[in-house]
Amino acid sequence: MEKRVVFRSRWLPWVLIAPQVFIIVAFFFWPAAQALLQSVQQSDAFGTSVEWVGLENFINLWNDETYLASFYTTAIFSVSVAVAGISLSLMLAVFADRVVKGALIYKTLLIWPYAVAPAVAGVLWLFMFAPSVGVVSYGLRAMGVDWNHLLNGTHAMTLVVMAAVWKQISYNFLFFLAGLQSIPKSLIEAAAIDGARPWRRFWTIVFPLLSPTTFFLLVINIVYAFFDTFAIIDAATQGGPGKDTAILVYKVYYDGFKAMDLGGSAAQSVVLMVIVVVLTVVQFRFVEKKVNY
């Protein structure tokens, strides 16, 4: 699709796109190229000597058990966030789609966590579950669960998953609600006349028709868990205890800025870039399908 009528000017379009192009070159392409370059170099911590090492950084990563463990942590984390977030918000959206009275109020009360900064979400959940002062951890202890996410890796993972899901529920909810409202009522009515009860109607009609939305949200939630939850983890657990909640992005940050391993951190950045490219391609192939659908 192109415009047939256009303006003519030799210099104006360049002036118009100059700010955007300057920013993407200076802050996107140049750094990305640097990351690629650093990933095949090895420099000491003071930056005095730089040496070409080829794929050594990547081989080191592959042999680094903590890096593989971080992959595993990221997988557990993102799958938990996506599955828990999607199923909870689907349930809320299905019920919100049913009610007539107060629908807008429920919607308003469910969407505001989207506005909360991930770091603040991490702090709120940390406060509720803090071993010494937290209200929820006190309640858990009364029930016989000795909650301490500072020592117990499973507890720490549960904490960051809950905070991440809480923050993302409003987003999923809005998309599911929009998806539900676009399902033709006549289909549901026909099934009801044929005698299908709500439970059966949901699984045989509503859920299949929602599958594009569900798949879209699955990709979005995994991207979210991979990249946007750094702040939650840094605020709530700092990757701890040990490295039990150090997802890939956290490790890039930690190795590059705390441990000063530039080459290793750059190689990790390159691996992350590949992951983003794959996820983006999956997302766009799906968006094309949705347009046809």
Partner: protein, 283 residues
């Protein structure tokens, strides 16, 4: 409603109310904690009813008193930094995306599609995958601890450019022809025809990008070392890095409330634009 099922309706309300309560509980607890004394919170379990320290805690937070270990900068200053950065980021993104979409749709110039795809491909380079080198670029430009460093690297926007391009493509060609017959130049057409037509898209994008700007964490964490340039989100994190016991939770929670209010207000007051923005930016 397909059929009458009073039981299912009741169940719907019960589930929704439970959902709302669980979603709101962290917020309520934060509010309660922000109205109590530090000692009252330390005696676990803290009371679940609001205390009487509301004004004391919020003024202590805003002025930068209390909050034991960690940052001591006044939250009022941090809120200002957050507000200015969020406004620069959201308005800057909208402005440069409008201009580049205008150039790409309404002009023919060499490498036009190459430029478009270059902008588009930045979608695949989120700040998280290039933090080290980007930090170095910003340091070389001397932009650490400044509004420029906090905002300019985040201003480029593939989604906004793409969105405006799609929208401009749907604007009828007759409008351009009419404008040209009336003797309007390109910038006149942009200002008097395209901008008013884009108003709803701009509002929707503004909501999303304002929240994006306000909630930035990783980037400000890297480029700010001076307490005077901390956005409030970073300030909270610095406050809690002191440790579990010596923390002034009441002040931290008052700060958290303050940090949540502006973006939450934007979402709730501009709900219609917010929903439109979410749906638009994901397509």
């Amino acid at each position: 409603m397909v059929e009458r099922r009073p039981l299912l309706n009741a169940l719907s309300h019960v589930v929704l109310i439970l959902g709302v309560l669980i979603v709101a509980f962290p917020l309520y607890l934060t509010f309660v904690a922000s109205t109590q004394t530090s000692q009252a919170i330390m005696q676990a379990p803290m009371s679940l009813l609001p205390g009487d320290q509301l004004i004391e805690n919020y003024s202590a937070a805003l002025m930068g008193k209390g909050a034991g270990a960690g940052a001591k900068a006044p939250v009022a200053r941090m809120m200002t930094v957050s507000l200015i950065s969020a406004l620069i980021i959201s308005l800057g993104k909208i402005l440069i995306s409008l201009l580049s979409a205008f150039a790409i749709v309404y002009f023919r110039f060499p490498y036009r599609m190459f430029v478009f795809w270059s902008i588009f491909i930045t979608l695949m380079l989120p700040v998280e995958v290039r933090i080290g080198p980007t930090y170095k670029v910003v340091a070389d430009f001397g932009m650490l601890d400044s509004y420029a460093g906090l905002t300019i690297p985040l201003i480029a926007s593939a989604t906004a450019t793409f969105l405006f391009r799609q929208f401009f493509l749907t604007v009828p060609e007759e409008l351009v022809e009419a404008a040209r017959i009336d003797g309007a130049g390109p910038m006149r057409f942009f200002k008097d025809v395209l901008l008013p037509l884009s108003a709803t898209s701009i509002a929707a994008l503004f909501v999303i990008q304002f929240i994006y700007g306000w909630n930035q964490y990783l980037w400000p964490l890297l480029v700010t070392t001076n307490e005077n340039m901390y956005p409030v989100v970073i300030g909270i994190k610095r406050m809690i890095s002191g440790g579990d016991s010596e923390m002034q939770w009441n002040i931290v929670m008052a700060t958290a409330m303050l940090a949540m209010i502006p973006p939450a207000l934007v979402v709730i007051l501009m709900q219609k634009w917010f929903v439109k923005g979410l749906v638009d930016t994901e397509k």
